[in-house]
């Protein structure tokens, strides 16, 4: 077993030096959803790009997504735009946002927001059993321990956004 010992020691030295982050076969739901939200920007086209060089993501309601989204904003850009993450406390802070994530406790707010700002161009994302019914465009669901999402294609279109066929293809449900 001497050869085995030497071999394993070398291997561990090698791998120990290379290790620097968690195994991603599993991930926390907040990290996964935040990454999905960032990924959605590759598959959604906003009709009129915003006037400035900021891409705004608003979080309505206290949510664990805030921390990972802030981290993503610090290292990533969307179409060369700097990402800004806003923890919104009232609806008036939302209408300039490119993406609005509404926490599970505030899903009913989506319908009110859509009524108040019918012309808004924001992608509204929720994580609730009744997200799409309340007017969210993308809704996260838990599928046997994995995160999936549903898409309300009509709502996306009605607000001047375009969704790629690839995103529609991998959605759990499209209405």
């Amino acid at each position: 077993m001497r050869a085995v010992s030497k071999f394993s020691l070398l291997l561990f030295l090698f791998c120990g030096l290379l290790s620097n982050s968690l195994n991603a076969q599993e991930a926390t739901p907040e990290n996964l959803m935040a990454t999905f939200i960032y990924n959605f920007t590759n598959y959604i086209e906003w009709e009129k790009p915003g006037p400035d060089s900021i891409f705004r993501i608003a979080i309505f309601g206290k949510d664990k997504l805030s921390k990972p989204l802030h981290y993503i904003a610090s290292i990533k850009k969307v179409d060369q735009k700097t990402i800004q993450v806003i923890e919104a406390e009232n609806q008036s802070e939302l209408d300039q946002s490119d993406i609005i994530y509404v926490s599970g406790d505030h899903t009913e707010m989506i319908a009110l927001f859509n009524q108040q700002f019918p012309e808004h161009k924001s992608l509204i994302i929720s994580a609730s059993g009744v997200g799409l019914e309340n007017g969210a465009m993308i809704n996260f669901i838990n599928q046997n321990g994995k995160i999936g999402f549903e898409i309300n294609q009509t709502a996306i279109k009605n607000h001047g956004l375009k969704v790629s066929s690839r995103l529609l293809k991998i959605a759990v449900k499209v209405i």
Partner: protein, 663 residues
């Protein structure tokens, strides 16, 4: 430095070397992944209970449905052949034998389950290798390495293989596959599943028919062990049905394997006939399970029924004048009441109660009849009932932030093998991409009633026992590359093995002690268009006289890759290597020293697969095994000295897939 010290030293070293904990490391990895890969990522907290209980206490490897499909696996041996730690004795007949981690056996040191219910044959305790498993309906194969009796009771000595079937909610739609290839091999598989989201109700029904004539072994092709009249076939039929409504699940599996017994005996030097035999065995399992969740508490009761019956038209052997039919029924009814409580800090407490009652044959039912006369069916043998009560508990306790301890104990009370306590202990440490575990496990294999009477019988058989210490480490380099290393030392006592006597008589005996030291190393690389793997296993098993255990090679290895070329074309190569290994022999006589067994030569096999997908729903696939047409052998513990294996084979398969999508 002995292995135990090595393990402890390396554990310390590697823990020290794992550095720089990055708070956002998980996010960094996720951001490297494409969106399809994100969909495949499990949620840590939600999967806590679904994660196999055994994962904390053993090495667990997974073969996915995609790997089964891509590589054209047709049998349980195929599925395991690319994994580290497995060696085989394929007698090219009614059964084949799988050795995990260095101990030859009659498939009774390992458990095989379908959706968590055992399919090991009840009378012998050994599972059946072969092509009767409905692989087209498998979601994934989970392979547990090492002793696991603290969770699964008797026979979980070398490991456990759990075949997880596809569920309707994940795979609604219709699939059909047809294929044909060398040696008159033909396959038909079909599956239909539907699921209603609103009522959370669905069902999945799948069936398989597989037939093959295997490699002709008559005359010189079989090293003159058999005559030119030899027949050697396998015909398998399987059905899986599962249905679910909310938290209620019902599953049913049926497998019927019909195979020739011609390869069991030499026919050129004996009176045995090598045609007209049939081993016709039927396995059927049913289970009903339910899950109740209240806050952090889960209660998961399960009731199950198992039946494994050697059907009475089986012809165990034939000679020039007569045939002999065997039958051997067996059934079992059991419940498993599992409860899990999760504490706020993610520590968990798991406990369960198992109650089983099994009816086993006291012996084979047997009848002989003239070879030219009317066929007779074997009578039903006398049956005897046994019962088992098992209690198990385990605690997963979080220590500090990075350590997890797992302590488990199982108590079995059997009406025929008495009381057994099986403990285990595991310590797990994870930081960044590095995870390491130090495990102590025990296991046992109780002799089955059949073992006591097989051959001339031996009423003094004791349970086999094993103590195992293992160190497992896993590293991930970026998102694409995974490295696993296991070092283990297993000490077996009272190993039950066959002892031959003169005049073709035999009995089972406790052989004494066996020590196995081993290393398993694997590297897997997965990118969107390429996946590649390489693994190596070192295994050194010796008995208490320091003689090498037969049938086990010191060195085995596997490697391969698959590449998606263009949009619809996927191809891959795979290689398997096994070093030289001592053959087994029935020629060992009482009083003789251990024989220097004749060695089986090392072999190197190359396989190839290519598939082309068209019109999105059709796939044409070509699988070629042993493309260099290497002549190679497996060991034998039967009268033939060794078994020549399949030459080059080619298999062509057409798959059709239709998915219902609610758009």
């Amino acid at each position: 430095m002995n292995l135990r010290n090595t393990i402890l030293t390396l554990l310390f070293l590697s823990c020290s070397l794992s550095q720089i904990y990055s708070q956002n490391a998980e996010l960094d990895l996720l951001l490297e992944m494409d969106i399809e890969r994100l969909l495949e990522t499990k949620i840590t907290s939600a999967t806590k209970f679904e994660q196999k209980l055994s994962e904390a206490v053993a090495t667990v490897r997974v073969v996915t449905a995609n790997e089964i499909k891509e590589r054209g696996y047709q049998s349980l041996e195929d599925v395991l052949s690319g994994q580290p730690g497995f060696q085989f004795r394929n007698i090219q007949g009614f059964n084949s034998y799988i050795f995990q981690r260095g101990i030859p056996n009659q498939n009774n040191l390992m458990l095989v389950m379908i959706d968590g219910v055992l399919v090991n044959e009840l009378n012998s305790g050994g599972f059946y290798g072969g092509s009767q498993y409905l692989l087209g309906n498998i979601e994934q194969v989970e392979i547990i390495y090492g002793p696991a009796s603290a969770l699964y009771g008797t026979n979980a000595v070398s490991g456990v293989v759990n075949l997880i079937t596809k569920k309707a909610e994940d795979h609604p739609g219709f699939d059909i596959s047809v294929g044909m290839g060398s040696y008159n091999t033909a396959l038909t598989e079909a599956r239909y599943a539907m699921y209603d989201e609103a009522s959370r109700t669905g069902f999945n029904l799948a069936a398989r028919y597989f037939t093959t004539d295997k490699r002709p072994l008559g005359g010189a092709a079989g090293d003159y062990n058999w005559t030119d009249e030899m027949d050697n076939f396998e015909k398998d039929f399987a059905v899986d049905l599962s249905a679910s409504h909310k938290n209620l699940f019902f599953g049913f599996n049926l497998m019927n394997k019909k195979a020739s017994r011609a390869t069991n005996y030499k026919t050129t030097t004996s009176d045995f006939s090598d045609h007209g035999t049939l081993w016709n065995i039927l396995f059927s399992n049913a289970q009903l399970r339910w899950e109740l969740k209240k806050g952090d508490f889960r209660f998961m009761p399960k009731a199950y029924y198992r039946n494994s019956t050697l059907l009475p038209n089986s012809i165990a052997y034939a000679d020039s004048a007569s045939k002999t039919a065997y039958s051997r029924p067996g059934n079992l009814l059991g419940t498993d009441l599992l409860a899990v409580y999760q504490f706020k800090d993610n520590s968990t407490l798991t406990a369960g109660l198992i109650m089983e009652r099994e009816n086993l044959a006291k012996d084979y039912g047997m009848v002989s009849f003239p070879i030219d006369g009317v066929s007779k069916k074997a009578p039903r043998p006398q049956m005897k009932s046994y019962h088992l009560i098992g209690l198990y508990a385990q605690a997963d306790v979080k220590l500090l932030k990075l350590f997890m301890a797992n302590v488990g104990l199982r108590y079995d009370h059997s009406s025929y093998y008495g009381d057994v306590f099986t403990p285990r202990l595991a310590l797990s440490y994870q930081i960044n991409r590095f995870r390491t575990r130090l495990l102590y496990n025990e296991a046992f294999r109780a002799a089955r009633p059949w073992d006591f009477i097989d051959g001339i019988g031996n009423p003094n058989l004791k349970p086999e026992e094993i103590q195992s210490i293992e160190w497992i480490s896993t590293f991930r380099i970026k998102e694409s590359t995974l490295i696993n290393l296991s070092l283990y030392q297993n000490n077996y006592k009272n190993l039950i093995t066959i002892q031959s006597l003169q005049n073709d008589q035999w009995y089972w005996r406790n052989m004494g002690k066996v020590k196995t030291e081993g290393l398993e190393f694997e590297l897997n690389y997965v990118k969107s268009k390429v996946n590649a793997w390489i693994n190596y296993t070192f295994n050194y098993s010796v008995d208490d006289k320091d003689s090498r255990i037969p049938e086990i090679s010191k060195h085995t290895g596997n490697a391969g890759f698959n590449h998606l070329l263009f949009k619809n074309l996927n191809y891959g190569f795979r290689v398997n290597y096994a070093g030289a290994r001592p053959n087994a022999s029935l020629s060992l006589k009482p009083g003789e020293d251990e024989l220097r067994y004749p060695e089986i030569d090392p072999f190197f096999l190359v396989g190839f697969n290519v598939s082309y997908t068209f019109y999105e729903q059709f796939q044409l696939k070509l699988i070629a095994d042993n493309i260099l047409n290497t002549k190679y052998y497996h060991t034998s513990n039967r009268p033939p000295d060794s078994y020549v294996q399949q030459g080059r084979t080619v298999f062509l398969q057409l798959n059709f897939h239709l998915t219902h999508i609610d758009r």
